[in-house]
């Protein structure tokens, strides 16, 4: 009974939210152009299934492209920053400062450089999602136990040896944890850029729907983004569990 409840709980919460939303719309007789009821959103979703899917695919691929760049760049910067105290001190303020800039403010700059379309969206997704990867990889590397480093150094291990044998494997749980955060941020980035500067993607779809007061379609777009985010998050949570099971061991499993 108890495990079943735990499994069903997230679905129940979502169902309850939609139900409450529907009841509020009905009960207060809220006009559709302010807040459409879930049933109206569902209706539009079914009617406009094909264009929604087309835009969703665009957003999905844009997000994945930006995320992939973020993973590669984040891993490289994180490795550099985490394995050198000098670089750590030197780069951190710059990285933090850069991360504090709202990325939506950066989209116009990207548009000037690359024009309207997919490229600014990919780059925005990348810019918004690489920071957690950098921070986590750097933290994983920088918190290496000094004794362990001594053991290896006394054997004549080079810095590259230490990084490959101990640093990176040890940083992997941090890295995979950051992927979960980064993928959801990447969706934020690509949708922001699409609303401002694109004629494709869920962001664009929502923008054009809201300008014609088609609120059910706007909400359909929001829900599609949410679903994609949850699915990708769960996917990376699964990957994390698979790859770094040793870090998530059951405490009762020890002999």
């Amino acid at each position: 009974m108890q495990p079943n409840l735990v499994k069903a709980a997230p679905w129940l919460v979502v169902a309850a939210m939609f139900l409450l939303w529907e009841l509020i719309c009905l009960g207060f007789d809220i006009p559709e152009f302010l807040l459409p009821a879930p049933s109206a959103v569902w209706k539009v979703g079914v009617e406009q299934f094909e264009p929604i899917m087309m835009h969703a695919t665009q957003t999905f691929l844009t997000t994945l492209a930006g995320f992939a760049i973020a993973v590669v760049v984040g891993l490289l910067i994180g490795m550099a920053v985490g394995s050198s105290p000098l670089l750590y001190r030197a780069m951190y303020p710059l990285l933090v400062g850069f991360n504090s800039i709202p990325k939506v403010a950066f989209v116009p700059v990207l548009v000037v450089w690359f024009g309207i379309g997919t490229v600014p969206a990919i780059l925005t997704a990348f810019l918004i999602s690489f920071f957690p990867v950098v921070v986590n990889v750097a933290t994983g590397l920088a918190t290496l136990e000094p004794e362990l480093e001594d053991v290896l150094r006394s054997l004549g291990a080079s810095r590259l040896d230490i990084l490959g044998k101990v640093g990176l494997p040890r940083a992997m749980p941090y890295f995979f944890a950051s992927l979960k955060v980064a993928i959801t941020l990447a969706f934020v980035g690509s949708v922001i850029a699409e609303t401002v500067a694109s004629n494709l993607g869920i962001g664009y779809l929502m923008m054009s729907a809201s300008s014609s007061m088609n609120m059910p379609l706007v909400f359909a777009g929001l829900i599609v983004i949410g679903v994609m985010g949850v699915v990708m998050y769960e996917l990376f949570a699964l990957v994390e569990k698979r790859m770094t099971g040793w870090a998530h061991r059951n405490p009762n499993g020890a002999a």
């Binding site: 006394s154 054997l155 004549g156």
Partner: protein
């Protein structure tokens, strides 16, 4: 001829700062079992860093095997109070780690893997870890982890084994078991051991020579040879001769603390 030699060694961690150890001179011959005891914070661990070449002395000279130490030595194995096994590797793979770094094993590891693996299994069996080779470190008890850690320090057959309070975190019974394990390993195939500890019974039971260090800055106060016959059995720890050594060393430590 001495294997490890310190000549008037000083070390300050920060240039011009307070000395961690001061004017330390000692001589260790090949195959000798040396214990260094002293109050905590007396620079015992600093001594280990100097010998292994992880730190350069601020003054004086450190020689190992007739040569002045100028960088990390590859003939050294190390183990610490914390076993520091890698949680993503099995016990066997943890023990094999040095072979992936030290020559000539490093370049022959691919070809001779099965032979090295057999050697590692044999070493693990010798310390009582047969059957645990493929378990992960977190599936082992603290004492077992420490056994594996010492195997890792010995797998590349170092000529010098350095132990920094390796049994400090274990309970009294496990600790005595591990004394015997270390004694047996050393007796089977002698190598030079430098054991840093604050357990006087441990020092007297295992070592040929015990050095007592003073409070910071650490200086060598006493060098005492332990002339108990070998092989030593745990029973020796209940003899008067043993108690005499412990008592004598204890008095020196007491004097260190009083001043």
């Amino acid at each position: 001829m001495s294997f490890v030699k310190f000549e008037n060694v000083d070390l300050a961690y920060a240039p011009g700062g307070a000395l961690a150890i001061e004017d330390v001179s000692l001589d260790v011959r090949e195959g000798e079992f040396v214990a260094v005891v002293g109050p905590s914070g007396c620079g015992k661990s600093t001594l280990m860093k100097l010998i292994s070449g992880l730190r350069m002395p601020s003054g004086g000279y450190v020689y190992v095997d007739g040569r002045q130490v100028g960088g990390p030595l590859k003939i050294v194995g190390m183990a610490f109070q914390n076993a520091n096994l890698l949680p993503w590797r099995t016990t066997l793979d943890n023990v094999m780690l040095p072979l992936e770094i030290v020559e000539p094993y490093r370049s022959t590891l691919k070809k001779e893997r099965s032979r090295y693996e057999a050697e590692a299994r044999q070493l693990l069996a010798r310390v009582g870890l047969a059957g645990f080779e493929d378990k992960f470190p977190w599936e082992l008890s603290g004492g077992m982890q420490q056994r594996a850690s010492i195997c890792r320090a010995l797998i590349h057959q170092p000529r010098l084994l350095m132990l920094d309070e390796p049994f400090g975190a274990l309970d009294a019974f496990t600790r005595e078991e591990l004394w015997c394990m270390l004694r047996d390993l050393w007796q089977l195939q002698p190598f030079t051991v430098i054991l840093v500890t604050h357990d006087l019974r441990e020092a007297v039971f295992l070592a040929d020579t015990v050095y007592v260090m003073s409070k910071r800055p650490g200086r060598i106060l006493v060098r005492r040879e332990i002339e108990l016959p070998r092989p030593r059995d745990l029973d020796v720890t209940y003899t008067d001769a043993f108690a005499g050594y412990v008592h004598e060393l204890r008095e020196h430590i007491g004097r260190v603390r009083a001043t």
